[in-house]
């Protein structure tokens, strides 16, 4: 077994819930750690050991996701010339984009880049990318439903950016507030800020995904998305969500009540 696989397996060992709990524990410990200099020496020593251990655990538990994310992002960027994305032109897609209020020319691309494992939206360019494997294996109504979800990311991207900025500002604000109460260790200040920002960013991102699901289903009906989620839920070994996406079972559960509402006009 290579060192890397051991590292990866250890990172995979933590479920999303466990990862979130570790970050929460870190924030709570940081608030307590603000008053570090007011404690007796023995308490300070014990806190230092415990706090450093918690930081190591947090880095280790988050590493798996960030390694995967970086690999996918770098792979997508590096191989973008070799696997040049091809514009996906379809009157149904254009009509959907117009209906959803996507401004300007719709920019949907299909790509056979092996690093692109799922559909994604580039928030800066408003381009939507779909892996060719998805187009081949999912029926058209389901691809349209997925695109409706992605178009919702395009139309709501400024709101998402604002929410992320607010989350980062709140984390920085809390760390600053704590440092104003007493003399705070720089380590505690940084850890409070980063761990709280991670927690809030994940909350904002989950909310953004639920909103995109709902918004997409409003235009195409929930059937397509539910079907795609059920397909992937059946394929993955653990459905506990990630830093950016909620668990598929939760997303299905949130879409199911929409099945009893009238079908959107086609």
């Amino acid at each position: 077994m290579s060192k890397f696989s051991l590292f990866k397996e250890l990172a995979d060992f933590f479920s999303f819930k466990a990862r979130r709990l570790i970050l929460l524990a870190l924030v709570v410990a940081s608030v307590a750690g603000t008053f570090y200099w007011h404690w007796p020496a023995i308490a300070r020593l014990l806190f230092t050991f415990g706090y450093v251990a918690l930081i190591v655990l947090a880095i280790e538990s988050q590493a798996g996701y960030f390694v995967d994310f970086t690999k996918a992002a770098v792979g997508t960027f590096l191989f973008s010339r070799r696997y040049k994305p091809v514009p996906l032109s379809d009157p149904e897609v254009d009509a959907l984009a117009r209906k959803m209020g996507v401004r300007g020319r719709v920019k949907v691309y299909s790509t056979d880049n092996p690093w692109v494992r799922g559909p994604f939206t580039n928030g800066f360019t408003s381009r939507v990318y779909l892996p060719l494997s998805w187009i081949r294996s999912f029926p058209k109504p389901e691809i349209i439903a997925v695109l409706a979800h992605e178009f919702s990311h395009v139309t709501r991207r400024l709101r998402f950016a604002l929410e992320l900025t607010l989350a980062a500002a709140f984390a920085y604000g809390l760390a600053t507030f704590l440092s104003m109460l007493t003399v705070t260790l720089l380590l505690v200040f940084e850890v409070t800020q980063i761990s709280l920002a991670f927690l809030l960013a994940s909350f904002v991102s989950w909310r953004n995904e639920y909103r995109a699901d709902r918004e997409g289903a409003r235009f195409t009906g929930p059937e397509g998305l539910i079907s795609v989620f059920e397909f992937w839920k059946n394929k993955i070994s653990r459905d506990d969500g990630s830093e950016t996406h909620p668990p598929l079972s939760n997303r299905i559960k949130k879409l199911e009540p929409l099945l009893d509402e009238p079908k959107p006009p086609q």
Binding site: P139, E142, E223, S227, E230
Partner: protein, 112 residues
Amino acid sequence: MATLISYRNIMWLLMKFILDGTAEIVTQPARFKILKLLKERGPTFVDQIAKETGVHARMVSHHIDVLQEEKLVESKYELVKVNDSKRDVAVRTCWITAKADEVMKDVRDSMR
């Protein structure tokens, strides 16, 4: 050499549904459940399928549309009496095609 070619042909035949994406469509859990039910029960209408499989009737309709597009299922609207109703009710009756049988066999074989 001849054995190798014929083995390749057999493998190609076995894998053709996996390669053309039909197998992926069938392996969606709800669709597989619906196909299995239609295979066992013969022609069945949407509400009956929904009741038997526990899949929402609107989802069943969606899956039937998809399967019909792939020529795995055929369907037609007809009038039937449901639950001792006095009037006939229009229902969408569905049944599987020979292609669906082949694909399901292919999927099962590839899983072994």
